[in-house]
Symmetry: D2
Subunit: 371 residues, 4 copies
Amino acid sequence: MSFNTFGHLFRFTTWGESHGPALGVVVDGCPPGIALTPEMIQRDLDRRRPGQSKFTTQRREPDAVRILSGVFEDERTDGPRTTGTPISLMIENTDQRSKDYSEIRDKYRPGHADYTYDQKYGIRDYRGGGRTSARETAARVAAGAVARQVLGGVTIRASLVQMGPHRIDYGNFDWAQVGENPFFCADAEAAALWADYLDGLRKSGNSAGAVIEVVAEGVPAGWGAPIYGKLSADLASAMMSINAVKAVEIGAGFEAAGLTGVENADQMRAGAEKPYFLSNNAGGILGGVSNGDPIVCRFAVKPTSSILTPRQTVTTANEDADIVTKGRHDPCVGIRAVPVGEAMMALVLADHMLRHRGQTGREGAVGFGRD
Amino acid sequence: MSFNTFGHLFRFTTWGESHGPALGVVVDGCPPGIALTPEMIQRDLDRRRPGQSKFTTQRREPDAVRILSGVFEDERTDGPRTTGTPISLMIENTDQRSKDYSEIRDKYRPGHADYTYDQKYGIRDYRGGGRTSARETAARVAAGAVARQVLGGVTIRASLVQMGPHRIDYGNFDWAQVGENPFFCADAEAAALWADYLDGLRKSGNSAGAVIEVVAEGVPAGWGAPIYGKLSADLASAMMSINAVKAVEIGAGFEAAGLTGVENADQMRAGAEKPYFLSNNAGGILGGVSNGDPIVCRFAVKPTSSILTPRQTVTTANEDADIVTKGRHDPCVGIRAVPVGEAMMALVLADHMLRHRGQTGREGAVGFGRD
Amino acid sequence: MSFNTFGHLFRFTTWGESHGPALGVVVDGCPPGIALTPEMIQRDLDRRRPGQSKFTTQRREPDAVRILSGVFEDERTDGPRTTGTPISLMIENTDQRSKDYSEIRDKYRPGHADYTYDQKYGIRDYRGGGRTSARETAARVAAGAVARQVLGGVTIRASLVQMGPHRIDYGNFDWAQVGENPFFCADAEAAALWADYLDGLRKSGNSAGAVIEVVAEGVPAGWGAPIYGKLSADLASAMMSINAVKAVEIGAGFEAAGLTGVENADQMRAGAEKPYFLSNNAGGILGGVSNGDPIVCRFAVKPTSSILTPRQTVTTANEDADIVTKGRHDPCVGIRAVPVGEAMMALVLADHMLRHRGQTGREGAVGFGRD
Amino acid sequence: MSFNTFGHLFRFTTWGESHGPALGVVVDGCPPGIALTPEMIQRDLDRRRPGQSKFTTQRREPDAVRILSGVFEDERTDGPRTTGTPISLMIENTDQRSKDYSEIRDKYRPGHADYTYDQKYGIRDYRGGGRTSARETAARVAAGAVARQVLGGVTIRASLVQMGPHRIDYGNFDWAQVGENPFFCADAEAAALWADYLDGLRKSGNSAGAVIEVVAEGVPAGWGAPIYGKLSADLASAMMSINAVKAVEIGAGFEAAGLTGVENADQMRAGAEKPYFLSNNAGGILGGVSNGDPIVCRFAVKPTSSILTPRQTVTTANEDADIVTKGRHDPCVGIRAVPVGEAMMALVLADHMLRHRGQTGREGAVGFGRD
C-alpha cells in the first residue's frame, strides 16, 4: 500500500497529528446503500478511547466522530445510507496540553521514530510524536467501523493473548470475557494475573509488550487476490502498519515451521453441502485465498517506548544525553491495539470482498448490513 | 499490492504456470543506466534452481533467463545498460513431464490452494499446481537480481535459521558458511544435523518447515513511507506473499512482546559522524522508516504439503477420499525460499529507495552498480 | 487514476458534497520543508470563489480554507513548513439554502449526472447536485496551491480563449489582462464583447460553453512517465475529470490532424547551452515527456446545463416531464474553470516532478519555494 | 495510470522495443472462465499489422501472437478458458533489418521523442525508435482482444473520420465500409478521395494527420468511477497515451464549447422500460458515468514525423544539422491507429465493468463471451 492510503477498491486515507486540531480519514469506494450512523462508528471508537482504566493513557479525549460527507438521508432511505461517494470522518483533538516540548524537540526518544523521521524529512512535528503517535489509529478504527457495515455477516473479534511473557490458557478462551476486563482478554484468569503484572511494571517506570489475536468468522471461501495481493499478505501489511507492531502470523504461524507436513496440512472431509477441514493450521487461508474457515491472525506489539526509566540517547546535535519520557503513556500499548487489529481485519476483508466480486462476478459475501 | 504486481516506483509483474511453456516477469520503473547482463540474473537463479541436492526437488530445470527488453548496448555504453523502459525476463519450462493428472484434477491436496482456487475462479490449471506452484518464485528471483543492481552498496544475505524444531546456534553464525552446505545455513554444525533430520523425514514420506532470516546491510536511514507503506509493512507483505509462508517478523519480532520497555528500546550514543544504536531489537526500522542499522527480517515456511504419506481429503464432487501426492517435491520448501527471501528484500528496498528520493529529493542511496 | 484520488507520488483525495457541512482534500506525498500558509492557498481559492461578478453564481461562499495537518512551525522553521505527512485542507459550506428539493429529487436534469448516479448507485444526494456539483473543484484548487509551492520555478497561467462560438484574437494575447476582466481572458477586446454576449444569454435563460488554455513555463525537459503515464495522458485525464469538460488537446491538438508532417514537426536548432525548438506544435511534450518548451493544454467546457429555459426530461419513475432548473447558477461554468485548470496542471506537474527524480535520480526541478 | 501499466482491476502491462527480439503484454485481473484462443487475438492484430497496403509501412511483420499463460483447457472446459491468472502474450519481431543506425543515434528526429528520452534517461535505444515506436501498440491490440471477450455484448467499432484537412461526410457513414478500404473509413467516397491525397503526400516525402472516431454500443448505464476515474477521464488518458495522439474529445467535444445550454444538454423521454435521450451530445457519458447511449470518442493523430523531406535539427552534441528520416514509415500513422483506438476503448470499458460490479455489486454487464 502507499503512503497514507490503504486498500484498492475499498480504500481509506488517514491524516492528522497528535497535537494538531483534528485527525480523520476519508473512506473511498464504499458500496452505496449501506446503513451508516455516527453511533455505529462511535461504539468502535469508544473501545479504543484512552483513559478508560489505569492501564491506558490518562489523556482525556472523547474521540467524538463527525461524518462530513458520503452519507445521505431523506424520507425514503430508512435512515442514513452511504451514497458510494467518499466518506469523510473527523475527530477533533481536545486534550493537547500546552507544555514545554524542548525535551523531545532536542533529544531522540529510544524506540521511537523521532530519529528516522528527522533523517527522512529533515523536519518533525515532535509534539506528542506528531504523525507517529498512536492517535492515528483512531482514524483506522473509524474506517474499520464502516468496513464492518459493508461486511454484514462476517464477525470480527480480537483478544489480547499474551502480555509480556504471560500467555493465556486457550482452554479458558471465552469471547464473552473480552468485554469484562480492561485488557480485552478472552481468558479471565490471565486478565486477573496481568493486572498485577502490569501495575508493577507501570509503577517501576517500565512497560510491557503484548500479542493480539484477531479472528474473522463468516468469510466465504474465495476471497484473496494472488499472487502479491494474497489475503495473508494484505493482512500482514495491515497489521504490521499498526504502531509498534513487529511481527505477524497467520494460523499456526511460526509454529508451522516446527511441524512436519503430516502434522501441518489440514485434512478435509465431505460435508453436507461443502467440504470442511479437520483442523485450521492454515488460519483460513490457502494460497492467499480464504477457505471458508475462520481467518486467524496474530500480531506482536513491542512494549511502550515512552517510559519513566532514564535511557541513553543522543541530541539532535549528535551529543550523548539521557532521557526520561514523561507524559501520559499507556504502560502496554498492546491493549488498545485490540480494536485497531479488528479494524484492520475488517478493512482488508471489505477490500477483498469487493475485489473478488469485481474480478469474478461472484458475490461470495454473506450479506450486507450489520445490526 | 495488487494481484500479480508488486511495488510502486520499482514495480514488477510476474506471470506463468508450472506446466505452461514459460514463466516470466516484467520489471518496470527501473532507473536507467544500470549495468545488467543475463549472467547477473542467472547467478541468483542458479541458487534457487531445483535439483542441486537430494534435499530439493529432482525436477530438472536449467532456469535459463532471457532479457527480452529494457536493456541496450552500443559502442558507448560500456556493456548492456538499463534504459528506464520495462525489462522483460523470460524463463522457459523444459521439464514438464507429460503424465496422468487425474489424481490432482479430481481431488484437493490438503495444504494446497486447489480448493480455494476452485472456489474463487471455478476453473483451475491443476498441472503441477499451475499458478500456485513455487516455480513462480523463479520470476521473483530474476526481478530481485535487477533490484540488487539498483541498490549498489546494499548487501542482502539470508540464512536458514531453523529447520523443523531445530534452530541454529547464533554463536556459530558465519555468512561464509551459507554457500558451503545444501541448506543455505550460516551455522555449519546445524547444517550437519539437519542433513540427517531431513533425510529421515524424506524417506518416511514426510516433510519439514523452516525459518529464514534475511539481513540487509548498508541501507541508509530514511527509507520507508509511513503510514501504510512502512518499510516493515511492505516487507511483511513481500515475505508473506511467498508460497507457504505463514509468519513474518522484524528485529526482535514476537520476542519483543515478551520484553519490557527497558529491555526492548534500542538506546543511542553519539558517533563520530552520526549516532549509533547500542542494540538492534528494532531490526533497523523505527516508525516504518530505516534507521541505518541492518534490516533484519525472519519468515516461517510451513512444511511441504505434497507428501507420500496418505492424507484424508475430498474430491471435487465433495466425496471423501485419500490422497498420496507423488511427484518430485522438495522435502523442505524452506530451503529454496532463502534466495527468494533475499530477492523480495531487494525488491522492497529498491522501491523504497526510489520513493524516498522521489518525495524528499534526498538520495539516501549508498551508490549504484553492484560488482 | 482511481475514484476520488489523483496522482502517484504527489497524490490528493477530495471529499464533500455541495450541501454537506464541508468539503476538503487530503494531499499526500508532498515533499517536506515547503513553505505553506493558509494565505498561499486562499489567494488561489479566492480566484475560483463564486459571486464575484454577475457572470458567476450568486451563491455566497467565503471558501475559507483551514490547514488541519501536515504543516509545522516552531522557532526554527522560518514560518510554517510541510512535514512530508498528509496535508488535510477543509472548507466549510456556509450558504446551503434550505429549500424544497422535490423538483431535482424527482426529475432528472438534462445534461447532469442525476440519471447516471441513480443508475450506478441506486441512491443520490440531489441537494445542489451533491458530489457532482462543481463545488468539488474548490478542493482541487486548494490542492493545486500546494502543488504550486512544490513546483517553485514553474509558472502556470490560464486564460479563457473561447466563449460560445467567439474565440480570442491571439494577436491581442496579454497575460496581464487575465486579472483585469471577469472572464480571466488574456484578450481585453474579446472580454468586452463576451460581456454583452453572456449577459444576453443569461437574461434569456440560456448559457454558454468555453475553451480554456493552460500554459506552464519553466518545466525542464524530462518530466513524464511513458507509456501509460505520459505527461500528455495524465493532463488529458486531469482536465477531462473537471466538471463539464468534454475535450482536451495538447499543443496544436486537433489542428495537428490537418497539418502535414513538414508543417507539424517542430524543427530544432543548437542553442548556447542546449537545443531549442523553432515552433511549439508539440505543446512542450514529445513521446509523453516534456521537452523544455511551454506545456500548452486546452480544454472545452460545455455550456451550463442548469438553465431557466424549460427542457424535456423524465421523472425517476420514468414518466415524461418538463423541468426548469432554478437556483443560482453560473451562465458559463467555463469561467471559474480557469483557476481549476491551472490547479490540475500544477497537480500533474508536481506528481511528475517527483516521479522523475524518483526513477532517474535527476532533479530536473527548477527550484523549490514560490514567493 | 502509471508507467507501462494501464487499468485497475482489468490491468495490462506492455513491454518491448521496436528492434528487440519480441514485444508483449501481461493482462492481469481478467475474469476466469472466458473463452480465449490465439485466433481471437490474431484477428485483431491482423487489422493493425503493417504492410497491408501502400499506405502503411512496408515492414513485414506477421505479428503472430503466442499465449504463454493464463489460459487452460482440458476435456471439461469446452475449449481454452481464462483462469483468472495473468495472461502473458508475446509477439516476436522478425523484420528488424540490420542497418547503420548512426543517423538516428547522433541526431534528434524532429517530432520524435529522441531528444526527450535522452533528457529523461540519459540513454536511448534508438534502433527504430526503441520503446517509442508504434510497434508497442501491437501489445495494446492483443490486450484489447482479451478485453473484448470480457465485454461480451458490447460492440466496439472505429472509423477514420478525417485525413489531413479532409473530413468524412457523416451522411455517408456506414460501418460496413470500414473493412472495404485501406483507411478503415466508414465513408466510401471520402476513402476514395483520400487515396489520391495520401499518395501525393507520400510521393513528395510528406505525411498526413488524421482523426479517429471510436464508438462503443451496448454499454449499460452506470459504468465509470467518479471523480478522478471518470469514464471520460480514463478514455482521455487511454487515447492520449497512443503514439502521436494530441487531442481527445467525448461526444460533441470541442463543438460543445460553441453551443448554448439549450442546444447542448440532451433531453430525455420516457421509454417502454427505461428513459432514452433525444440526442447524444454527451457521447454517452454524464458526470463521468455511462448513460446507456453509445460511448463516442474521437482523437487526433499528428502527421508522421518520419519523412523524406529534409528537416532542421541538432546533433546529440548540440550542433546544427539536417536530417532525412529514411526507412519504412506509414505516411499516415492515423490509419493503423484505428484498431488501436478500438482496443483502448475495450480496455477502459472492461476495467470499468469490473470496478462497477466490485463497488456496487450490480452487474451492469450485458453478458460474457463474444462469438
